[in-house]
Amino acid sequence: MAIKVLRRRKPILGAVPFVAYVGIFLGIPAGSVVLNAFRSQSGSFTLSNIHSALSGGYRQSFIQSLKLSVIATVIAAIAGLLVAVAVVGMKDGALKRAIMAASGVFANTGGVPLAFSFVATLGNFGLITKILLSGGVNIYSGGFTLYSVTGLVIVYQYFMIPLMVLVMIPPLEGLNSQWFEAAQTLGASWPTMWRSIVAPVIMPPFIAASLLLFTDAFAAYATAAALTSGTIPLVPIQIGSLIQGNVVANQGNLGAALGLGMIVIVGVVAIAYVFVSRRSNRWLR
């Protein structure tokens, strides 16, 4: 009897408004996209939206988007790691704190203003473009343009590298010098130590952070839209054009199919992320 009294029903009422709100304003739109992806104009079930989303120009845009995000992520991940290693090696002090703070600020820079500041830097009349031109190098005649995948990769580094730095500094600082000393006394050489301790400890957060960067780049719309005014057919840009009706009509639910594709890709990456971080959590927690 006493047990029954103690085992009260657990309250859930307090979570209802919050969960309901997210359900309505995120769940319903997302759900409708998923459903519409399989629906024809007349409302009957069809796979033709999915089929067109995966063929022709739209297939190409998925490839472009993936290419952009993968390249941007690989560069940012490596550059970010190199910077993080440099920062970790520094003595604690004003400079180190300033770098950390600056990383925080730059990681949060994005969207339209970022695009325009790169126009001022590497655009047709940008500062660097002009400086190089006065030095006899015309990057635009050399095939470069800021308004391209290459340009976006460069621009995205502006927020991706700092994000990587911020995420990698804690695990790098977590490397304990006693592990290395212990390994040495046990007979380990420098390369062995890297292989058996540094790499395994650093890899999971590194991969996790890279996945995070990837989704960031993959879903980004504002910077690309502002910079290229829709000229590069990335998936988000394509969806945008469909919404704005810039394309032939009666493709109403094609956008939903493209959206579903994005959700699936981001979702897969998210699952990979959870998997990787759970793995390392086993021994880091």
């Binding site: 969960v19 126009v119 001022a120 695990p171 304990n176 879903a219 504002a222 998210a270």
Partner: protein, 296 residues
């Protein structure tokens, strides 16, 4: 992506707290020269666009110095109307966020701490659905809603609450986590404080820093969000900014400079405030970082 930021931060903090001695350059095999080269190159990459923007905003495409683009901004009526639209949306977003998230966090920490990580995961869900896709969904799912909602920026405010959740939820929760609500409430109750008094005197003041940074984060989100607003054809500030950029480049760059500096200033202020008022400094900073990195 559910546990992303949480688990990542958790594990990272865990490991750095416990390690006795941090590794120095020697163990990572890097020296002073490496540091200098890497840091100088990095600094260049990040400072040049700022310098270039400042220069471009006063020089433009022709090489004469003038502050006319700044002047032009202020004389454009669209500047104020778009700013005002964004401002109204921000007020709505902030109000709903604070009144939706704060009670949830306080309730969960007091009554169901075990639910905390599930709620956090819910707050991170918007990261899985790109904002372009959300827009698509809004347009089809809510098409039949009355014009007062769908035809006005009200829908933006309602949606921004959700889209900014990954950042706002964590900053309010970090504020709550830093103060151990449970103990405070028990102490207050044991001293004879009623629930209302406890809420007003104990909980709210202690959550202030977390709420403030959530306020800033959602404001900055609203003033930076482009995808949803432009695709739904609302003239918010960033949407106007892009329109300006299409034919008056140096004006849009001038505006961008202003926008960047304001955001950076705000961020620095928030992290300084955060540093001062909570002991879990890294958690707070990281929250904000993660917060904004996602916002693109």
């Amino acid at each position: 992506m559910a546990t992303i930021t949480t688990s990542l931060q958790g594990s990272l903090q865990g490991s750095s707290e416990k390690s006795v001695k941090a590794v120095h350059g020697r163990v990572l095999g890097v020296g002073r020269r490496y540091r200098t080269v890497v840091l100088v190159l990095t600094a260049l990459f990040f400072l040049v666009p700022v310098v270039a923007s400042l220069r471009y905003s006063v020089v433009g495409n022709n090489n004469s110095i003038s502050f006319s683009s700044y002047g032009a901004i202020f004389s454009d009526p669209q500047f104020f109307s778009s700013l005002f639209t964004s401002f109204k949306i921000a007020i709505g977003t902030v109000a709903i966020t604070v009144f939706l998230v704060t009670p949830t966090v306080v309730w969960a920490r007091l009554r169901r701490p075990d639910l905390m990580s599930a709620l956090e995961s819910v707050a991170l869900l918007p990261l899985i659905v790109p904002s372009v896709v959300v827009t698509l969904g809004i347009l089809s799912a809510f098409a039949s809603l009355p014009n007062i909602i769908m035809g006005s920026p009200v829908i933006l405010a309602l949606e921004y609450v959700v889209l900014a959740l990954p950042y706002t939820f964590r900053s309010i929760d970090a504020g709550a986590g830093a103060i151990d609500i449970r103990t405070l409430v028990e102490a207050s109750r044991s001293l004879g404080g009623g629930w209302i008094a406890t809420l007003m005197r104990v909980i709210i003041p202690n959550l202030k820093s977390g709420i403030l940074s959530a306020v800033f984060l959602s404001t900055a989100f609203v003033f930076g969000e482009f995808a949803v607003a432009s695709l739904m054809s609302f003239s918010t500030f960033p949407v106007w900014l892009v329109q300006v950029g299409q034919d008056r480049a140096s004006e849009s760059v001038a505006l961008s400079v202003v926008a960047l500096l304001l955001t950076w200033g705000g961020l620095v202020a928030v992290s300084i405030a955060g540093l001062r008022s909570t002991r879990r400094r890294s958690a707070v900073i990281e929250d904000e970082l993660f917060a904004f990195g996602e916002q693109l």
